[in-house]
Every structure is written in structure tokens, then in C-alpha cells.
């Protein structure tokens, strides 16, 4: 809990700036889902990179915290910030556009962010976040190759899949997706902890 409070103290200004940016994008009528996902990832990664310096690891590990608490707090904080952004997106859309978003949209934001971070966090614990840029460039290259040579209508398929998910009325499907994402996120936490326990300070 204290580590979560620490991240909130550290990121309160960044969070306010991001919420303002989020509102601007909503005013400009950008896709609320994608803006929400982007802002959530930015704030979650900010929370991660702030503690990434060796000297900060030295501080955190010298304070009465275990490595398990240090790693799990990052996962909890990311969910906290993502929910905050998803709720702001929901309320912002109601206030700015006078529309009620489907309840599924904020949940979709949370699920996508959790799924992405499930891969990003262990990567960053292993290689440090500045290698993420290189991994990102590699992924973009892979995406372009896929779109050009393998699945030319990949974007359409993604759009179709997202629509299908959001329009589905099957509770069972949502439960399966929700549970899968949660399990993926917990599994990611276990992997990150294992990596972090091996680290030298």
C-alpha cells in the first residue's frame, strides 16, 4: 500500500497532465478507446521508469519492503491508473459529447492495457525499459511485414474483432476473456518477480 501511495505522490503531476491531454483528445473526437489505452500505458510505464535507476532500487530494497511487494506494487499501480483513466474517459465522453459509452469500453481499455503490460513489464525487468524502443521498432517492422506479405487486411480484422467483442452479448465470453487477462497478468507478475529476485543491486 505504501509503495502504491509512493507512486501516486511521484506521478500526481504527470497524471494531471495526462488527464488534461486525454480531455483534449476527447474534445477532438479521437477514438476514446485508443486514447485511453495510450494514456494508461504512458502513465504505467512512467511509474516503472521512475524506479528503474539502480540507486532507487537500492533505496526501495533497503526500506522495509520485500522484492515481492516492490514488483507487485508496480502491477497494482498500473491497474489503478488504468482504471482511473478508463473512468475519466467514460465520464469525459458523457460530459463532452453527451453520449453514454457502453460499459464494455472502459473494461476493454483495462483488459487491453493489462494484456500489453503483461508482456512489457517482464521485458523491462529483464532488459531495462530503454530496450523497449528497440523491441517496439522490431514489432512495427514485424507488423509491416505481416500487413504487406502475409495478412494484408490485418487492420480490418483487428477492427472487426474489436467490434465483435464490444457488440457481443455473451456473458460467458466476457468472463473467459476477463479471467484469461487476469491470469496472464498474474503470470506476468510471477515471471517479473522471478527476474527481479535474481537482480544484483
Amino acid at each position: 500500500m505504501n509503495l502504491i501511495r509512493k507512486d501516486i505522490i511521484l506521478l500526481k503531476k504527470t497524471m494531471l497532465v495526462l488527464l488534461a491531454i486525454l480531455c483534449v483528445y476527447l474534445l477532438l473526437d479521437f477514438s476514446s478507446i485508443w486514447v485511453g489505452i495510450l494514456c494508461s500505458i504512458v502513465i504505467s510505464m512512467s511509474a516503472f521508469t521512475l524506479d528503474e535507476k539502480t540507486s532507487i532500487h537500492l533505496l526501495l530494497n533497503s526500506l522495509p519492503y520485500t522484492r515481492k511487494e516492490i514488483v507487485s506494487s508496480k502491477y497494482v499501480v498500473a491497474v489503478f491508473f488504468t482504471i482511473l483513466i478508463a473512468v475519466t474517459t467514460y465520464i469525459g465522453t458523457v460530459i463532452i459529447h453527451g453520449e453514454m459509452l457502453a460499459w464494455k469500453e472502459p473494461l476493454f481499455i483495462v483488459a487491453v492495457v493489462m494484456a500489453i503490460l503483461s508482456f512489457v513489464f517482464p521485458f523491462c525487468y529483464k532488459f531495462k525499459s530503454h530496450y523497449l524502443m528497440m523491441a517496439g521498432i522490431g514489432l512495427v517492422a514485424l507488423y509491416l511485414l505481416t500487413v504487406t506479405f502475409v495478412i494484408q487486411d490485418l487492420n480490418d480484422r483487428i477492427r472487426w474483432f474489436v467490434k465483435l467483442l464490444l457488440n457481443s452479448n455473451s456473458t460467458a465470453e466476457y468472463i473467459i476473456i476477463g479471467v484469461s487477462v487476469i491470469l496472464l497478468y498474474i503470470g506476468s507478475g510471477v515471471v517479473s518477480l522471478r527476474i527481479y529476485k535474481q537482480k544484483w543491486l
Partner: protein
């Protein structure tokens, strides 16, 4: 109280590429100041990190307050105050913000004590840490380390880079802290003169090995710098010394068994009290003959 150890390292080994601590055992007595000396890269910081569970030993055991980290990590850390040579605080935060973060971690955090030290050290609470000088950072670090009634203060090179006045003030402060007999202080330093001012015991580490832990009286009784003519040295007599420095006009050597050396050389040589620097210097040179 003499028999109680606040820290115990038993047969600890830790290897890195190009450096290792081997079968390292050390006991730090409760209620005393133990100074930890050794050259650069001999394992001082590694030892401190092992004591604080920042590194796990490859083999051997580490216990603090008689407890192991596996089962009592948080309990142990609640009772330790730490000061590092490097800056470990968030640079873009003010001291007040750092305090807000750290205070929540400690059950026994005491705002009054913190304010006492902040006022004693004249630290600005609302300035960012990256505007603090080296001395101010050390004072801030110390204020935090002392504000949760820690029973053990572990400091890695706390006096390095400090001006002589603050160094003296710091040592006085640590001395004052020891008036509370339950507190123990373990600190590493390059500045051996600091130890004479404050340390009850000196622990000397060299090349990953624990050479000794002794009080000043023991050092004075056992160690001596011996000076004499070169004609007194041969293969057999040289073995009496930890290291020998040969010069055109005579030799200078360090013995760790003053009584025995006196029996061997009698009045033919001069005996001088060695400084800790002498002991470090001669030990570093080791078995090799210095010309």
C-alpha cells in the same frame, strides 16, 4: 552485552566476474561502533549489501539481530537505518516529499526526531534534492536514517567527499547516538583517521577476505612497524613480517605478532606504533617484497 552480535556473516561466499568474497565470516558487536576499512574494490560495499539483503550470498548465512532475512526481512529492515555514499533519493523531489514517502515505510517513524535533525542540519524542506550539495545530501540521508529509532545504523562511506568540519560534526553526532547503549553502528570508510575518533572496533577486509576485527588496544598490542638494517634480513627473518619494504638504507616492515618479533630482533630494530593506513598499505603489498 559484550557477547551479543548484531550482525553475523558465517562462511559467506559471493562471486562476481573478476571478484569474490570467499568463506567470509564476520561478527559485529551490539552497542558499539565498528569501522569497516579496506582499499578500493576489496569487497566493502558487497559486504554491506549482503548485510542488507541487497545481495544474496552464493553460500553461507547472514543474520541480523539474530534473525535471517528469509523469514524476517521486513522486521530486520524496520530496525536498520542506512546511509549510502551514492544518491539514492528521487532527484526531482523535495526533502519533504521524500520524507512523505519514507515515513510510511517505518512503523516507528518519528516526525519530531526528523524535524530536530532537519533543523540541526539547516536543511531546506522545500528544495529539490538535485539542488542539494554533497554535504546536504549526506545530512538529509542521515536525518532519514535516524528518524525511525533504528537499532543498527549501516553506513557506506558516509564521510567521503565531506568537508572536515561536517565530518567532525557527523562523527560527534554518531558518538552522541551511542549514548543509547542499544544502538550499534557499522560504517565503511577510506578515511582511517575517522575511526580513531569514534570506532570501538575496526574490521579490516582485503581482497575479499576478512583480515581481522579488533579494538585499537589489540591492534596496538599485536601490530608494529619494525625498522632496521638490511643486514638483519634473511629468508627466515623476513617470514616474521606481513610485508617488508626494503630501501637502500634499511628496511621497514609490518608484524602482526609484536611480542614474537621482539624476541627475534630484540633491541636491534626500532618498533613503532602502526597507523591503520600502515596496516592497509603493508597488507595490500602482501607477501611481495617492496623495493
Amino acid at each position: 552485552m559484550q557477547d551479543e552480535n548484531v550482525i553475523e556473516l558465517q562462511s559467506v561466499s559471493k562471486s562476481f566476474e573478476g571478484f569474490s568474497l570467499r568463506d567470509f565470516s564476520l561478527k559485529v558487536k551490539k552497542g558499539y561502533v565498528t569501522g569497516f576499512i579496506g582499499g578500493n574494490g576489496v569487497g566493502k560495499s558487497t559486504t554491506i549489501k549482503l548485510m542488507m539483503n541487497l545481495l544474496q550470498p552464493d553460500s553461507g548465512t547472514v543474520s541480523v539481530f539474530g534473525l535471517n532475512y528469509k523469514d524476517h526481512e521486513k522486521d530486520i529492515k524496520q530496525r536498520i537505518g542506512f546511509v549510502f555514499a551514492e544518491d539514492v533519493f528521487y532527484e526531482h523531489l523535495t526533502l519533504a516529499e521524500i520524507k512523505a514517502i519514507v515515513r510510511n515505510a517505518y512503523v516507528k517513524w518519528d516526525d519530531e526526531v526528523f524535524e530536530k535533525y532537519v533543523s540541526m542540519f539547516r536543511l531546506p524542506l522545500t528544495k529539490k534534492m538535485n539542488t542539494f550539495s554533497k554535504g546536504m545530501r549526506m545530512k538529509a540521508s542521515l536525518s532519514i536514517a535516524l528518524s525511525h529509532h533504528a537499532e543498527l545504523i549501516i553506513m557506506d562511506e558516509p564521510t567521503s567527499g565531506l568537508d572536515p568540519i561536517f565530518r567532525r560534526e557527523l562523527l560527534d553526532l554518531l558518538h552522541e547516538l551511542l549514548q543509547d547503549g542499544d544502538k550499534s553502528i557499522f560504517f565503511s570508510t577510506h578515511i582511517t583517521s575517522d575511526l580513531a575518533t569514534i570506532a570501538d572496533y575496526v574490521t579490516f577486509i582485503h581482497d575479499g577476505k576478512h583480515m581481522f576485527t579488533k579494538d585499537f588496544q589489540e591492534i596496538e598490542e599485536e601490530y608494529a612497524i619494525v625498522k632496521g638494517g638490511l643486514d638483519l634480513l634473511d629468508q627466515e627473518t623476513e617470514r616474521e613480517f606481513l610485508a617488508v619494504r626494503k630501501m637502500p638504507y634499511g628496511f621497514e616492515a609490518l608484524t602482526s605478532d609484536k611480542q614474537r618479533t621482539q624476541l627475534v630482533f630484540g633491541d636491534m630494530v626500532l618498533y613503532e606504533k602502526p597507523t591503520l593506513e600502515d596496516i592497509m598499505y603493508f597488507t595490500k603489498k602482501g607477501e611481495m617484497v617492496i623495493c
